[in-house]
Symmetry: D2
Subunit: 348 residues, 4 copies
């Protein structure tokens, strides 16, 4: 069994990772760390794990954990992971980082958007961007994987084939995303206090969300030219799920549904975790809940010459922990869907 350590295991992403790995056929969580709950049973922090999980939360010692574990998952605040991951750590173990420190190849861009200095620039070239469907081959041999952001996963999977095949104008991309509240984490804040978030909707970080440079880098690679895009995330009153609505101008304004469908098929027809919705249907977050699926639908609109692409995923699974497990599976030569082979839960 692959021995797994989780550094920062008491957030929602960490909890979901433990849930997914609990029945993984080839991996086992052997160490979980926390800053606030050291010495406490993990099942006291997340009572859903009672009768299953007997882990105790321990203090973080990344070097000894690197020696003891085959892979470490890090869920740490921005700027922290880059100071902790060292050559020594990467010699001893593999690392999958949930944070943003190694997602953006240009440390200057990272520092500008995140407002912190990057403490591990020398390791950046070794990091592989962990979007399994796109970087599968590189992930297989990676020691350090930067697990993508939740919005970015939804955005890149939605648009990658269209840019790759020149279907849309790279200058025209507008992305409007809607996220459930768990994306904001388990930390207390007035904006996610129950009565403040319930029965309301708002946009936030308009044009300035940190997932922008990540999407722009990846989509620029797809288009083979620099892309600047508009991105507006919204907070909506539900626990889980992201629905992302992308707008772009079609290069062929009369492009037919079937032609665009063929483009998606070219890239995704063998991707188990990507489901293109049937013509006339449209993704809904309820159909992917608690699963690693990303559903994608699209509508060409001849009136406006635009295509509207919609993607839906569970921000804690395909947008975080599920993606990470998928990457782990690739890194260890396992079946890519090992431990992820579960149905979405509906209604939930």
């Amino acid at each position: 069994m692959i021995k797994v350590g989780i550094i920062g295991a008491t957030g929602y992403g960490g909890g979901e990772l433990v849930r997914l790995l609990a029945f993984h056929p080839a991996a086992k969580v052997t160490a979980v760390t926390s800053r606030s709950y050291i010495g406490k049973a993990y099942s006291e922090v997340f009572e859903n794990f009672r009768h299953h999980e007997e882990l105790m939360l321990q203090e973080e010692h990344i070097e000894s954990m690197a020696r003891d574990c085959d892979v470490l998952f890090l869920t740490l605040p921005h700027g922290v992971a880059s100071g902790k991951i060292t050559e020594y750590v990467l010699q001893k173990t593999r690392v999958i980082d949930f944070g943003a420190d190694f997602r953006i190849s240009d440390a200057d861009v990272y520092e500008k958007w995140y407002g912190v200095s990057h403490a591990g620039r020398e390791l950046l070239p070794r990091a592989v961007y962990g979007l399994s469907e796109i970087y599968r081959e590189k992930i297989i041999s990676a020691r350090l994987v930067a697990n993508p952001g939740c919005y970015t996963t939804a955005g890149i999977l939605a648009l990658y084939p269209l840019l790759k095949e020149g279907v849309i104008d790279p200058d025209s991309i507008i992305i409007d995303a809607k996220s459930g509240v768990s994306g904001a984490g388990r930390g207390l804040d007035l904006g996610v206090h129950y009565d403040e978030a319930n029965e309301s909707v708002k946009a936030y970080k308009i044009g300035s969300h940190r997932h922008v440079p990540e999407m722009e880098e990846q989509l620029s690679l797809a288009a083979n030219r620099p892309i600047v895009l508009s991105f507006t995330p919204h907070l909506i009153p539900m626990n889980r799920g992201i629905l992302l609505t992308a707008y772009a101008t079609l290069n062929d304004k009369k492009a037919a549904y079937d032609d665009i469908y063929a483009v998606y098929e070219k890239y995704y027809k063998n991707e188990f975790f990507i489901r293109i919705t049937k013509k006339g249907a449209s993704p809904e977050t309820k159909w992917v809940k608690a699963s690693n699926f990303c559903d994608i639908g699209f509508t060409p609109d001849t009136r406006t010459g635009r295509v509207i692409v919609i993607s839906a995923l569970d921000n804690l699974v395909k947008g975080a922990a599920g993606q990470a497990v998928q990457n782990m599976n690739l890194m260890f030569g396992l079946e890519e869907s090992a431990g992820l082979d579960m149905m979405p839960v509906f209604p939930a």
Copy 2:
């Protein structure tokens, strides 16, 4: 007291109208009709009205109601009102129609988008589009007011000044809207069954929603040239509220916040029901709930050369019944805010 008749009073829009008029200083509901609940007390259909409202639901007789009432509000399915409103009715009373039949000046456009034939083409020239802030003068003397749609109110108020003043490129408009479930009405349907709509989000009628031609007509008038726009409505799990996010390319890509603010001030600074959010803040539906306010915020984005405008309103108030009362006030020479002078309810 102005005598008010409501035809089709048992939907959510009708209920909200009764609530708003209950304490109106100069108007009183004297007749409410229904197809399904004839003879039943109104406060049995909406138990919130117990101890306040003693109306009985009666059968609909538009001509006798026209004789007895000073104004009739109609909340009927599309295509029905245009067959009921006659010259005779308009001679005897004033009419405020919640439906779409008289919102679009070109009956052919109406028929194409609504898929029904228009039964009252000859009355179309007499109808005034009831967006109070824009058509105030015409509404004052109107006999027939077409009360705007909920999305359209949010969309037009958000973009009207920018188009009027040439701030944005009319060909670049993309509108992404998020609505609470009450917009779908009180009729049963699997899509609004509790467990289907709760904890999920979806887009619907992508590019084909019937509020498109209504927005296009009004915004074309503002721009003084034809506009074709993209519009995607989304259903989100909450009872009330619409948040609308509009994207448009700035003609001056370096336009400053304050310059755009001045444009909004020019049009709205004396509008009590329109609140421009402070710089750095952004509208949230919770701040307008149960009120007639429409909050508007905007963010110019020099990276992309676009402006993102966000508007928030309560779909049952400024998006329906409140707007209708505002129009009634104008038609009868009352204080425009009469009966609408209430604070948003928070948290609710």
Copy 3:
């Protein structure tokens, strides 16, 4: 106009009080205080108040406020108000306290349940328990009113007539209550973090909630003998509203619905804010939302010889701010429903 000061105005109860008083015909809020937001506009703390309310939050000086205001409302943590309210304050102004310090006549009982010492024992005899429907006469002449708790209002109104008339066995009372999350206030806490409270239900403070001694004292007075009761509050995923289900053994196990109805009528038939539901109907919190109503329904069950009484109210209105305004109206000789004459908002 009655000049109103609010000490501790930035919680949900304070906000609701400002909302209700905004259109009160005979009172006006002239001062609002806060510990955290001194110098800030009130409408920045609660943006729903923009365009209506121009108050600034000031530091608390109870004595000068007592001189300047005709009435002070206090919404402070338990144990704080009793140290602030002095003879001097009560000479200069009237006080309505939202907290529990003056609700329980026996300071020893208070200290036992609340775990703090009572700093104003000498004033206890001057405090009147502010349940308007029951203590109307005393409230009229009171200088210090202890505004009841939210659960207790629902519980006392449900059972008072039955105990007063000897309909039920005082030893058999079990109260199971369900509250929306706003009852927990605006303070941050993991239990009311959005994802923790949403889509879940739990009981809390089982048998030990501080509203127990308050209900027991009032119901003992009704029964004219000591009462000990079981009370279990539950937190349910919604913003507002309390539904309380009370169980008691009927002294006449075959008591008919109409006989019990007559008992309620005897006490409540002239009470505008209490609505007895029709036979066959049952209270739902949605029918009282944002209003001062308390709906009550009951079901005698001949199988078990018990009666089940259900009451519903809005915890921020009849359970807090609305009740307080009702008390103020009584204290100042105003129409009891002044400023409270609004319909419940549905759906909301």
Copy 4:
């Protein structure tokens, strides 16, 4: 592999059964029937099943299905299953009935509470009540299992040990339950229309819910004397989960927590799916969501001499489909937790 047929597979209970069986190590769904969706792909009715499940919905032919399947699950309206299950069917296959027809041993009691005549009285003696933890031995050899109701499972598991051991007074039982909306099924009804159920709570079928006789029969067997109890179900605004709060008078009014704990341990210490919460903790539905767990907590209250017992389960899993799979496992000699070995999903 055990071949499974599901008659009535398009409700929420049927959907959950398909979800649970999808990865069952020893069973496979081979036939699903429907009245409304014959010929449609199952994954079009429940889109969460896309990429996993390729079943087509077929017409119902219970006899041929009995020949083809090793076990049939029936989710049919009350009164229907008893007319369909015949000796022939039971010879050919095993049956697990989600409905109530075979839950109550006395057909007269059934007919009185359900208001329909029982069409299969002769088979009643062969039916085993499918509460696995209590009737394990009988279920192993059963041909016909009556799967318990959702409320009844929560109620019986909460009180069974206390009655069996004489800890509580059988005449004093009051049960107050709170259920998410999925318990009402996927059929359209105004009461479960989104805006009617959201942000509100109500009691329903007070004292007359059909789960009463089922709980009374089972708890009478535990107490070895007839029990009449009070039961009030409530509908709360969430998708899944039941929290049940039971009140009973302690025979020893000073009974200590640890003594009662020992009673629960005696019955449940080896039950994987029953988790007794730690002292000071209390069940919450979020900790059992999407799992087969039933969490139980209790609080002895020496003030009142009562014990308050709280149980939480997922109404679609331990309250329906999970329980059914657990029974199937017993009937086929499998590991009891086969296919049910999943963690609760949190937050969800």
